[in-house]
Symmetry: C2
Subunit: 173 residues, 2 copies
């Protein structure tokens, strides 16, 4: 385990800050000794902490939405690992997905929440949600109830670019 | 094979249009008989053709760039199928990737082309490029030369969301 020595004098507010951060991020604050401070490096209140470090290494889910309030979401077949589809989620879609266990997205063209498969029945049961380093993309590990693509292909990624620049259908996609 | 009957009268320009479309999309135009027209359903000049059909079912690579000139690109380990990272590509990045065989992206923060691994050496050798149904997303099937994430994790998706909403590190990611 790595430790960082912080020579800052003991201040009550800092101790309280340590407790609050500890509570938020899920790290126990019992190892923080201010004055002569010994802090776990992974803890977001280390002397070198920053929002970037917290976002990349922390235990707090803090999605980085774009100017339209969206993150990119990639659905992957949990069993086969196949890339199925790509869509976008806002805070509402993330909440609804976590609440129901079925993938919900935000339709940019229709400007509304939609559940994948709401009309076709080809829903995506969410097994696990992963987040990337800077928290602007999500990986939904899913169990698809049918073809993931609206074209009825198992995956939306059913063509590859050939050497001559044309597209060719992939047999198993 | 499915055929579509087109009752439109024979016009020389239509014949020429058929030939041009056939040449662009890679379908042979020899089956187009105008006047009493017999056309392969898959051909983009069918009576029911549209840009959507051409984009979704055609053999022409016509990426649908957003207002910033970008498509989303997802890098997947060709051997393991693991989702590695997500970035963006403009026309220049796509061209450079196809030309060199190594993944290039467009950095939105730096506003410039970059080759993944240009400083770390952790390049992504591109085995295959796939495109999704509406051609606004690409799947790069790659062979990574090292950790795909700048944090030195093998994949950028190294944390999952737990039931209590906190993030937990995934052992094998």
């Amino acid at each position: 385990m790595l430790f960082i020595h912080d020579p800052r004098p003991r201040r009550k507010s800092h101790v309280r800050g340590a407790w609050i951060f500890g509570a938020i991020c899920g790290y126990r604050a019992t190892n923080h000794h201010c004055g002569e401070v010994t802090i776990r490096k992974a803890c977001p209140i280390s002397a070198h902490s920053s929002e970037t470090e917290l976002r990349e290494q922390g235990a707090v889910f803090m999605p980085r939405f774009d100017s339209a309030g969206l993150v990119t979401a990639v659905a992957v077949d949990h069993a086969s690992g196949a890339l199925l589809m790509l869509a976008h989620m806002d805070a509402e879609a993330i909440a609804k997905t976590r609440q129901t266990g079925f993938a919900h997205f935000h339709s940019r063209s229709r400007g509304r929440l939609w559940m994948k498969g709401e009309s076709s029945g080809h829903v995506l049961k969410v097994i696990e949600i992963r987040v990337d380093c800077d928290q602007d993309a999500l990986e939904l590990r899913v169990e698809p109830a049918g073809p993931a693509c609206h074209t009825l292909a198992p995956s939306c990624f059913y063509r590859r670019i050939e050497d001559d620049g044309s597209l060719a259908r992939i047999e198993d996609a």
